[in-house]
Structure formats: C-alpha cells, structure tokens
C-alpha cells in the first residue's frame, strides 16, 4: 500500500470521525493546530484506523503522532494493507 493510498484512507477516516473534509487532511497538517482535532477525536481516529488497517496503535505511540505525515509514516512502517 503506497503512502498516497494510506493518506487517502486516512482522509476518509478523519472525515467520518470529525466531519473535517478529507481534502484538508494533507501531510503537513497538524491535527491539533491545523485541523482543530482534540484528544478524544484522535482516539476515535486511531481506533478506526486500527480497524481499517488491522494494526495496533498503542496510546504511547498515539501521543507522538502530531501531524498527518506522522500517522502515514507510522502506518507505512507497520506495513499496513487495505
């Protein structure tokens, strides 16, 4: 799965969890500062991503994921598939 595929899927997840349009979910975007996503929504996004990608995102890792690119990198390194 390419980084672009992961980004597209992540955009869909963010839109479903928060209502924020998927096209705003760009690599440089900070979840807190640019997308105004709070900690509980981050948990919702993480659990939805876990289901979608069959991957585990522990709380200790989640707290380090500040930008969209951070999440894409994390998922790419985890070798996720659709």
């Amino acid at each position: 799965m390419s980084d672009q595929d992961i980004l597209t899927a992540l955009g869909e997840i963010v839109q479903e969890a928060t209502g924020i349009p998927a096209d705003r979910v760009v690599p440089a975007a900070s979840f807190t500062n640019d997308l105004d996503i709070d900690s509980l929504s981050m948990v919702e996004i993480a659990t939805m991503a876990e289901d979608r990608f069959s991957v585990s995102i522990p709380d200790s890792e989640l707290s380090k994921l500040k930008t969209v690119a951070d999440v894409v990198d994390f998922l790419a390194k985890a070798g996720v598939a659709v």
Binding site: D38, S39, L40, M42, V43, E44, A46, T47, D59, L62
Partner: protein, 317 residues
C-alpha cells in the same frame, strides 16, 4: 442448617434523587483552568454540574435520595432489610456511611454496608440488592449511589475538574412475581488501575483519552452480554442508561448497542460525572420527566476506576 431460598424475582419499586442546590456552570469554573464553555461542551457535553455545599456529605445526600426512594416505593422503612451505599468519596474509611443512612431513614431492622466500585458502584449494589431480595436475605433492599466527588477535585487540573459533580440517587428493590432485574454482567481489569486514581496529595487523576478509548472499545461486548443474559433484544429497550461520564462516550455506546427505540440518558449535560450516583440519577430523571413509563425496559451499565464495570436490564417502576 437451613437454606430456605425462596424462589422469587426482584424489581425496582422506587427511585429517589438528590441534586445539590448549588449549580456550577462552565462559566463559573475557576479562571485558572484556562478553558471555556465551548471547549468543555465540545469535548464532554457537560454544561453544568451540581456541587455539594459544606453541609452536604455522601451520607446526607444518600439519606435524602434514599428517603425519597422509600417514599416512592410506599414501603415502611422498618421492612427494609438491607442498605447498600455505593460511594468512593467518604472522607474516611470508617465508619462507613451506610449505617448512618439506614438509621436516618428509619430502616432500623436493616443490615448495611458501603461498597466501593467507583463509578460502577451502583450497578454492583443493585445486583447485590436484587440477589438479597431474590434469596430472601431481605424483603426490601435500598441501594444508593452517593458522591461528593468534589472532595477529591484539584481545581487547577483541567483534565478532571471540568468533568465531575456531586449528588445521590437511590433505588428500592422488592420482591416480584415476574423478573424485573436481569442477571448482572460484571468484570474488572486491574492492569489498568492507573487510568483513574488518586495523586499523592489525594486528588483525583485520570487519563481521559485512554479511558475514552477503553470505554468505546471494550464495553460493546459487555452490553451485548447484558442483553443476552436477560433475553432482551436491544430493540426492546425503552431506555439506555449508561454511566454519565462524558456525552461522547454515551453517544458512542448508544451507536454500538443500536437500541433504536430507546431514549438515551444524557443527564451528564446538567449534572457532570457523579460517579456512583450517575446511573440512578439519570434513571430517576428519565422517569420524572416522563421519558419512560412503568414496565419499560432499560439497560444500565456503569464503569470506572479499577477498572470495574457492571450492568443489567431493569424494569422501570
């Protein structure tokens, strides 16, 4: 040895609530918290909470709620055989509060004990009360969730101070010809005991995102088990009354259980998280406001520090 164990059912026959007269809105919170009404409502759904005055304690509030529940049930307090007080906010471990509540309501023939399962306490207490009535240990049992949780609040800690409130809710359980309280489903997980605990200074501390994650992922199967144990389909529920911790948890659980015909208790908006008091307060309010009626089925589920959780199907009195 004799074990008469009469074969009978139990049900809730009366409810009572006590809400502190002092209400603190989000605008009234200390400025040092560096927050605002919109921020709090967006994250928690909470707009205001009751805060007990200096004269109000877990015992006095429990007494008020229990007295109302006994009156609602139309039971002579002398016939109450058991008083269970679920609380985690007594200022000292002994004496427990339950005996004082029993005496204050005139339950002079009752056994009494305190129960600490934190926010899950009422549903544990309800199961104990139900079993006591079913097995004949008590003709009537009173279970109360009562909390002055602001005893433990650090008013400079935004992650906890915005969430909690005080109050008490009570139920009277009595014998029934038909099942009125379903089998309890409960559980615990001590590996996560640090998610909601106390600081060395004796203040409540919680890891909100981790609790949110646990509640919104682990409790779905518990709710299914509660329904299965009672032979009730989610579509049969007239009310869904989860622990009132956070509106976003409540709404997530409601989506998961899929109780399409049920009113969803949202007392948290006006009451905050009252720990063990939250389920009986929310249940009593639904009935008081006419959102449910006698004979309706409600799913109660409570969860919190420990971690502990418990829930059952109940029939509205």
């Amino acid at each position: 040895m004799k074990d008469p164990a009469p074969a009978r059912h139990s049900r809730i026959i009366g409810l009572g609530e006590h809400r502190p007269s002092h209400v603190m809105t989000n605008h009234d919170l200390p400025a040092t918290l560096d927050t605002n009404d919109e921020w709090i409502q967006q994250r928690t759904g909470i707009a205001r909470r009751g805060v007990a005055g200096p004269e109000e304690t877990p015992v006095t509030m429990a007494t008020e709620a229990a007295r109302k529940a006994v009156a609602d049930a139309g039971v002579d307090p002398a016939q109450v055989g058991l008083v269970v007080l679920a609380t985690c906010s007594m200022l000292q471990p002994i004496p427990g509060g339950s005996s004082q509540v029993a005496t204050a309501i005139g339950a002079t023939n009752a056994g009494a004990y305190d129960l600490n399962a934190a926010c899950a306490g009422f549903c544990y207490g309800l199961a104990a009360a139900s079993d006591a009535v079913r097995l004949g240990s008590a003709e009537y049992a009173v279970v109360i969730g009562s909390e002055k949780i602001t005893n433990w609040i650090d008013w400079s800690d935004r992650s906890s101070a915005i969430l909690f409130g005080d109050g008490a809710g009570a139920a009277v359980v009595g014998p029934s010809d038909t099942p009125g309280i379903g089998p309890v489903v409960f559980g615990s997980d001590g590996t996560a005991s640090g998610l909601i605990d106390m600081t060395e200074a004796g203040r409540l501390r919680l890891d909100g995102p981790a609790v949110f994650r646990w509640a919104t992922t682990a409790l779905a199967e518990v709710m299914v088990a509660i329904c299965d144990a009672a032979g009730v389909a989610p579509s049969d529920l007239a009310a869904f009354v989860p622990h009132q911790a956070n509106l976003r948890i409540i709404n997530a659980l409601a989506r998961q259980i899929g109780a399409t015909n049920a009113v969803i208790a949202q007392d948290v908006v006006d009451t905050g998280n009252t720990s063990a008091a939250s389920v009986p307060l929310a249940l009593a309010r639904l009935r008081r406001e006419g959102a449910v009626t006698t004979g309706d089925l409600a799913l109660t589920i409570a969860f919190g520090s420990g971690l502990t959780w418990a829930g059952q199907i109940v029939t509205i009195p």
